[in-house]
Each structure stands twice: as C-alpha cells, then as structure tokens.
C-alpha cells in the first residue's frame, strides 16, 4: 500500500531544490564581485593588484575548500534528517459509568500515558488521586475519528467500577477517553537508537528554552555570533575560567555531526565555515529541527543517545511532547555536559543545572517566576531503568508488526512517521506480565523447576482485540516470544473440539449421552500400537459426555473421536480460524498437535464469543502523520454455523471449572463464578495449558521448559495458577447461558440421565441441541405426562421459560 516510490520521489525533490539554487547563487555572487572591483579607480593600481593577488589566492583556496565543506555538511544534514519513526499507540482508556476499573489499574493506565501525579492538577498531563476519586487534566489528542480537546475530568471509582465521570464544573459526562499511551516507536535501524521528531511536535518550551540557554541570538545570526563570542569571552574573563561557550546552535550542530573533541583552530574555523554554509543553505527551523534530533545527550552502554526525543525516552520513559517544564529544563541543561550532568549518576549536579536553566527561563520570560519555582520544587522525575521503553510492550509490538507486515513494507513503518493505533490495554498488559513473572516465581517456590518459562495472550472476546501478550517471564524484545512462536503440544486443550463435533451430530449426542471410558488400542499409521491411558491410570466405565469432558478422560475421548473422525476435527480447527499443520492421526484427539498460545487463543475465541468468530487483531487503524487514514481493520463477524452446539459446549466448559479438572480455580479468583475453561497437560508433564474465558475476556496461559524437557507441570498446577493471578485482578462477567435458536434448556434425571421435569426429584437442568435430548423419560415425567395431558402445553412452556438462565 505505502510504496517505496513515494519515498524516492520526495527524496529527489528535496535534494534537487537546494542544489540548483545554490549553483545559481554562487555564480551570481562571483559576477557582482567582479563588477564591483572593475568599477574601482586605478589610482592604487599596484596596491590593488597585490590585494587582488592575495584575494585571488585566498579565493582559489577558499572556494574549493568551501565547496568541499559544503558537500560534507550537506550530506550529513540531508542524509540523516528524514526518517520518521512510526508511533504506536495503545487503545485509549474509555471511561463510562460501570466500567470495571480499580484505582490501581487506573494508576497504571495514567502512568503508561505519561500522566504525573500532582496535588492540584493545573496542566494537561497531570492528575490527583484521593482514594477512588481521581482528578485528571487530560491532554488534547488527535484520534483517527478526530481531535479531542484537553479537558479536566473527575472520575470516581467504587467497588471496582467507575461510578461517575464529570467535568470539573460538576457536569456529569456519559463518556470520556484519555489520550492513549504511546507504547513504541518503530524507528530506523541505525547504529544509534533514534526517536526523531518534527519541529512542530516539539514542545514550544523546549524550542524557546534551548535558545534562551544556548543561543539567544539564534534567530538573527548567520551561523556564527560575534556578539555571543564576545559575551562569552567577557563572562569567562570575569569568572577566570571557561563558564560559557560562544558557539551558536548551528555550530554545535556541526560539531555533533563530526563529533571530535579536538580543539584546534582549524577545527574551529571549519566549524564556523560549515555553520555559515548551513545557515546559507537552510532555514532556521530546519536547522533547529536537525539540532533537536542530533544533539548528544548521553550514553547507554555502547550506544550514544542522540536527540531530545530519544533522551526523553531514555531518561523519563515518555515521548517528548509529554514532558513537564522541569524535565525539559533538565534536558536543555544537559546539552552542556551530558555525562557531567548525568541525572542518574550525579543527581545533585543535574538538579542544580536544571534549576539554573529554570531560572534562565524565568529570567527571559518563557516561564513565570511561579512556574519556574514550582518546577524546581519537583523531583527530577528520571526513571531508573533506561531500557524500560519498548521492553514492556515488546512482545505485543511483535504481533503488531506481523499484522502490519501483511500490508506494509517494513521500510515504510520505519520511515514514514505513521500513527498506528493498537488494541493493547496497558493495565492488562502489566497485570498479565505480573501474573506470568510472579506466578512462575511462586511455582518455583512450590517445588517446580526454577527454569520454567511461561506465556500468555489476553483478548477481548467479542471484538477479538488483543489486550496483552506476554512472551516470557522477562519482558523484552531480545527474548523468544513464546506467545507467538512457541509451538507446543496442546494436550487436552483440544478435547472440547472433539465434543463440539459430537454435539453437532444432530440427534446422536448430547451432554448426557453415555460413552465408554475403557481401554482401547489403535494401530498408528507408522504401524505402532497405541493404547492411551487416563491421567489417573483408571478406566471409568460408562460415563456421560459431560463427565468425560470435565474430567478430561482420555479413553472416552479417543472413542468419541473415532466416531466423529480425525479429518473432521482438523477441518473444524481450520474453520475456527487456525491454520496449523497437523498430522491426521488418532492421537490428535488427545492433543498431539502443536500450536502456539496465540493460535490456541484464536481457536477458543469463537467458542467464547458464542459462535461469532473474529480474527484476533492487534491493530485498529493506521494513518499518516497528517491524519489521513491509510487502513482500518474493522470488526467483521464470521458466525459459525452451529452456534447451538457451541452454546451447549460452553455450558460444559463452565462445569470444567465448577466440578472438573479446573475446580480449584474459583477459589483462586475470589470465588467468582461463570468462568469457562479447559486445562491441558502433555505427555511426561512437559506442557501446562489453561484456556479460560468470561463473557468479555479470553486468556490463554502456557507453562513449560524451553527445551521441551519434562517439567512436572499439569494444566491445573501451573498454567491455571498464572491465569488465576490475572483474573483475580479483573472482575468476571459470567459467560452467557442463554441458548440461541436450535438449543434449549431441558431437565434430566441427575442419576439416570432420563428426560425429566423441573418438578421431579433429582432433576437437573441441562442444555440440549434440539433433537438430541434423551428419548426415554424418567418415571416421574412419564407419570406427569400420562395424568396431565392437557397440561402438556404448560409444562412445555416451563421447559422454555420457567427457569432463569
């Protein structure tokens, strides 16, 4: 879609223009000089000739030298400037009354979006909190649907939900959304990490402050500033040492291009010449923009930190346009000596320098005295870990890149400055990462291997929007992203699909249909015999489909699988949106199929969404820096044909959690009910899976060893614990129990499975695909129908509406 062509084209226009005009100008200048000298009287002819000779010689040297310098500085200037990184945004937090949100989650969201806590928020980007009552001064932001202005909001939270939203004036609001967190920049792969900004995106305070501190005459000089030099010399003489430099911003820019600490006169002259050339060729704003993106502001290991935007990330973990006055002042102050004023190593020096800059800002009227004092009273605000940016969200960003790779060339993402709107929820990403990291630590304390790894995928059920991706116990871009790339055997996680296929066999199977859980031996395609055993090494005889599924009986499942067929199973997996290369062998019924956590999430999304499949998405919209929409990924439903069978299966999966292999789960999430899920364990306890969903959240957790060695894990002893850690922090909305067309709630005898009635003793409710209910009646029901024929209609009614779903 976005084509290379555009880049090339803009590139040539950009370069051609100055070159052409430059030539013309040089020629013109020479001509006018010649004319002027020719017009002079010849009275001092000899002297003049001498002067001309000297001038000519100087010109002869200077012109080629200037041309050389011109070439040097121009290639630096133009070669580096223009690659704009794409900016990646999280989903905006939308407040509405009833939104499930705790004060802790809101704090995470605010921090991710760069909001600062303040006693009384009086600028966009600040908030105050008092228990569940938040005052948020939200920033203006341009959403794909349009600009939203800054606004002061009051949000109150109680009982884990948003109770009200209002303006500061007390006017109640139906909804309001925060500007989204910026979660990554996809920038060019240069030697240095760069985060480039355009001048119009640079905070005005930085632009004016920089000039006030470094080059007050910037607007007027021509590259060098004799007055500035004089002033610096005076200051230095007065102080008895070099306290002030007379270099203009332009000279500093040149110095940054050819970083060299050598302080020779030639060097100085060259710098001055190049500065003059730059000023002659380019506009002030272009020079300032280059400076802001170029200036050296620190060192991270072997990598140089160039530019204010990158430095903003490095020191504050925020985009440049979200910095406060004090933070901007600190960065400006650091220009003078990034390592001397390094705020991490020399906080006191850095603070003094910042305060000095703030004082200069106040002195020049850029800030009021009060603003400067207020900023000086704050802490430096420097984050501890410089690598935090991008790391926290790296696993999710990989998913973003993959979704975009289908449509955009990698180069375009890195150079066009696109705005990418994603589905990530910072609070859920943080909670999911904590669940995995802390969960694995606690498993190790409980005696499982300390080397265990884990992964998690969290998605919104109905929209398929991915809210969090955890690629391993340590977040970070360097590591293996297990959520996307670890293809592991899924074990019993696949079983529900075998039962789904059975339930779709109209009239043949219901949840109360009996099957045999007895030893079985099959010949594999490779000629070997295969005799699956149950987890507890026992065969359970005649069991219902429901019992077999919730207890994850292997022998019964294989028998049922043989009835529905392995090719049908693989076909069904494809229909549910997962393209996996699986061998059609009977052991697939027990999960001898390798899938990634992401694929498992896709497999279960249609079940969780009551049969309305959607492809899992990480990106909603992509637009140009100017706000033109390039592409949107709208919600598109793909209804499954047999939503009746899916609804019945969903009920069975809630029973897995209430009475089956996952029955420890409700206790782990504070007794919340209405979760559906399935555990999975593979041979020799190598993999632990848990897939669980509520009405609005689906999450897949996996635990195992990277080298696939036996790890002592089961679905319920490991992955389910991680899952529970996440969901104990999220309010659960119980899964839908209402049946769609084609399925209904009936009554059966709990003992015999015979059709029964609400009024009968021992009757239990059971969902059925219409036509699959047991053909035989319980004695109680038989007696009722015989004695009460004319009441048939009413009892039918009761079957349908007499119970609360």
């Amino acid at each position: 879609m976005v084509k290379k062509r555009s880049k090339k084209k803009t590139g040539t226009t950009r370069k051609a223009a100055p070159r052409k005009t430059a030539k013309r100008k040089t020629a013109g200048r020479r001509k006018s000089k010649a004319r002027r000298s020719a017009a002079k009287p010849s009275r001092f002819a000899r002297l003049f000739r001498l002067a001309l000779l000297v001038f000519g010689a100087a010109l002869g040297l200077l012109v080629p030298w200037t041309i050389y310098l011109d070439h040097e500085v121009r290639s630096e200037f133009e070669g580096r400037k223009w690659d704009l990184p794409s900016r990646v945004y999280a989903r905006p937090l939308e407040f509405f009354s009833g939104l499930a949100l705790t004060p802790e989650m809101l704090r995470v969201e605010l921090a991710a979006a760069g909001y600062k806590e303040s006693a009384s928020p009086n600028r966009p980007g600040q908030f105050s909190a008092n228990g569940g009552r938040f005052e948020i001064y939200k920033r203006a932001f341009r959403f794909p649907e349009g600009e939203e202005p800054e606004q002061r909001l009051a949000v109150s939270i109680s009982g884990g939900r948003v109770a009200s939203i209002s303006t500061r004036g007390g006017q109640s609001l139906a909804l309001a959304r925060l500007d989204p967190a910026e979660i990554a920049s996809i920038y060019p792969l240069l030697r240095e990490d760069r985060t480039l900004v355009r001048l119009e995106d640079v905070p005005p305070l930085l632009v004016t402050g920089l000039q006030a501190v470094e080059d007050r005459n910037f607007k007027h000089h021509h590259g060098v500033d004799p007055r500035g030099i004089a002033r610096a010399m005076m200051a230095n003489l007065k102080a008895g040492q070099a306290v002030q430099g007379g270099s203009t911003l332009t000279q500093q820019l040149v110095k940054n291009y050819f970083l060299n600490s050598e302080r020779t006169l030639v060097r100085k002259v060259n710098e001055a010449l190049m500065a003059v050339i730059l000023e002659w060729r380019y506009d002030k704003s272009a020079i300032l923009e280059a400076y802001i993106n170029e200036v050296f502001l620190g060192q991270q290991g072997a990598t140089a930190i160039h530019g204010f935007a990158r430095a903003s990330r490095f020191y504050f973990d925020q985009p440049l346009d979200r910095l406060e006055a004090g933070e901007i002042a600190l960065l400006i102050g650091m220009v003078k000596g990034p390592s001397y004023y390094n705020p991490r190593r020399h906080p006191e020096r850095a603070r003094q320098r910042r305060d000095a800059v703030l004082a200069m800002m106040a002195e020049t009227g850029i800030l009021t005295e009060a603003q400067a004092n207020e900023a000086a009273s704050r802490s430096l605000g420097v984050v501890d870990a410089p690598s935090a940016f991008g790391q926290k969200y790296a696993a999710f960003i990989q998913l973003v890149r993959r979704q975009l790779a289908r449509e955009f060339a990698e180069d375009d993402l890195k150079t066009e400055g696109l705005r990418i709107f994603t589905t990530l929820a910072p609070s859920e990403q943080t909670a999911a990462q904590d669940a995995v990291s802390q969960g694995l630590r606690s498993l190790a304390q409980a005696g499982l291997p300390a080397s265990l790894e884990g992964a998690m995928v969290v998605a919104d059920v109905s929209s398929g929007e991915v809210r969090a991706v955890v690629g391993g116990r340590n977040p970070g871009s360097g590591g293996f992203n297990r959520a996307l790339d670890a293809r592991r055997q899924v074990g019993s996680v696949i079983k529900p699909l075998v039962y789904l296929l059975a339930l779709e066999h109209q009239g043949e199977y219901s949840l109360v249909t009996k099957i045999d859980d007895e030893p079985i031996t099959l010949r594999q395609p490779n000629g070997q015999e295969w005799s699956p055993s149950n987890y507890d090494e026992t065969s359970h005889g005649e069991v219902t489909l429901l019992e077999a599924l919730i207890n994850s009986y292997n022998q019964a499942t294989v028998r049922l699988g043989l009835e529905v067929g392995v090719t049908q199973l693989l076909h069904r997996i494809e229909q549910l949106g997962v393209d996996a290369d699986i061998m059609p062998v009977p052991s697939v019924f027990l999960g001898a199929a390798e899938l990634t956590p992401m694929q498992v999430a896709q497999l279960y999304q249609p079940l969780a969404a009551e049969g309305y499949a959607v492809p899992l998405r990480a990106v909603i919209a992509v637009e140009t820096p100017g706000g033109e929409s390039l592409t949107r990924y709208p919600l598109r439903l793909m209804p499954q044909d047999r939503r009746d069978a899916i609804a019945v299966l969903n009920y069975a999966l809630t029973r897995v959690v209430s009475d089956g292999t996952a029955r420890a789960l409700p206790g782990l999430i504070g007794g919340q009910e209405g979760v559906a899920g399935k555990t999975g364990t593979t041979n020799d306890r190598r993999d632990s899976w848990f897939v669980g969903y509520t009405r609005n959240r689906l999450a897949v957790a996996w635990v195992g060893e990277d080298d696939n060695s036996p790890a002592g894990v089961t679905g319920s002893n490991a992955a389910m614990r991680l899952w529970a850690r996440l969901f104990s922090r999220i309010p659960v909305e119980p899964v839908e129990t209402r049946m769609p067309d084609g399925a209904y709630w009936g009554w059966v005898d709990g003992e015999t499975g015979a059709l029964s009635d609400k009024q009968c003793n021992g009757a239990v409710q059971m969902p059925f695909v219409a036509g699959s209910e047991p053909a035989y009646q319980s004695s109680c029901l038989a007696a009722m129908t015989n004695t009460d024929k004319e009441d048939d209609d009413r009892s039918f009614w009761k079957k349908w509406f007499g119970k609360k779903n």
């Binding site: 879609m1 976005v2 084509k3 555009s6 084209k9 803009t10 226009t13 950009r14 223009a17 100055p18 052409k20 005009t21 013309r24 100008k25 223009w82 939308e94 509405f96 009354s97 009833g98 939104l99 649907e145 139906a174 909804l175 355009r198 001048l199 119009e200 060729r281 380019y282 506009d283 002030k284 272009a286 923009e289 066009e416 400055g417 919104d460 109905s462 929209s463 929007e465 009551e610 140009t624 820096p625 100017g626 706000g627 033109e628 929409s629 390039l630 592409t631 949107r632 709208p634 919600l635 598109r636 439903l637 793909m638 209804p639 939503r643 839908e736 769609p740 067309d741 219409a770 036509g771």
Partner: protein, 187 residues
C-alpha cells in the same frame, strides 16, 4: 506550495524559505501520496438507495411489531455513541458511523440495538454479508420479540436476497411474523 520545486528561486530568502518548507512540504506531499494509495472510503450510496434501510427494514418493522419495543437498559455512554452514529449515518458518513458503533460495542458487545444498527449501516455500505452477520448476532443477543426482532429478520431477509439466497430470504420473511408471536417455535 510552488516554492517546493525551487523554481521560483527569486532571492536568497525565498530559497531559505523553500528549504524550510521542504520539511513541512515533505510531510504534506507524503501525506498526499499515501492517501492516494489508501483504500478509498465507501462512496456514498446513490440517493434512491439511501432509503433501503427505512423502506425495507425500519418502517415495516415498526408496523410488524405495532411499535412493541423490548429493549434492555442502555448505558448512557452507549446512548451517546449511538446518537452520534445515528447522526453520522443520516449525513451519509457510514464509515464514521461504523467506527462509532464499534466503539459503543466495545462498551456493550451484546447490545442488540447496537448490533442491529451496525447491520443497517452495513446495508447502507452494501456489505450484505456483514449486514447479515450483525443482524443474526443482534437477534441472538436480543429479546427475539418485538420491533427489533422484526428489524433483525427484515435485515436478514434483505441481505440474503442481495446475496442470492432466495430460500433463505423467504424463511426470514416468515420469521418476521413470529416476532409478535411470543410462543417459541417447535423443533
């Protein structure tokens, strides 16, 4: 904008100006080029088709149901977005309407009115497959009686007709009638 080419080249100032505008112009040019290649927004439907939703779905559904509405309580946030989507729809901005409805569906994914509204916007965008899908979901999630039920089945019928499923369209028509018949169907 002519400065960009550098052809005007009047004086040094203009050149400098153009050099600086270059940075801005570059972005603008880029934006234009990119947008030229972006997927075109849905063209507004011709005037006579605009009423398809009213003519085939909303008005008859109101008649079918004698105005009986069975709505769940709606969140004020959803109401606000629904109203905005309605405005966008009326002024022919169907893409905007569907973005707003999607935003509302993030808040209440099972709201039958939202889902049906989305189905109707899809009809206007002539994406009959998605119109069908959203209408079916609305029916599943909804009260399955009253006006919204009639709108569901009328949309389903209309979409099936456009998709060439004549039998399905006829079935849908018969289902419209059952929306006022609170007695469930036998299987």
């Amino acid at each position: 904008m002519t400065d960009h080419s550098g052809k005007s080249g009047l004086a040094k100032r203009t050149d400098k100006h153009s050099a600086s505008l270059l940075s801005l112009g570059l972005t603008l040019a880029l934006a234009l080029l990119l947008s030229a290649c972006a997927s075109a927004p849905t063209p507004p439907a011709p005037v006579e088709d605009r009423t398809e939703v009213e003519r085939e779905i909303r008005e008859p559904a109101e008649d079918d149901s004698e105005g009986v509405q069975v709505f769940p309580l709606q969140n004020p946030a959803v109401k606000t977005l629904l109203a905005q989507a309605g405005e966008a729809e009326t002024s022919g901005n169907y893409d905007e309407a569907s973005v707003l409805l999607e935003r509302a569906l993030r808040i209440q994914p099972h709201d039958p009115e939202l889902l049906q509204q989305m189905a109707e916007v899809q009809v206007r965008k002539r994406d009959y497959q998605q119109a069908l899908n959203f209408a079916v979901r609305s029916y599943d999630a909804g009260p399955r009686v009253g006006e919204i039920c009639a709108r569901n089945w009328r949309t389903i019928g209309l979409a099936r007709e456009h998709l060439g499923d004549a039998d399905g369209a006829r079935e849908a028509e018969s289902r419209v009638g059952q929306c006022m018949n609170t007695r469930p169907q036998r299987y």
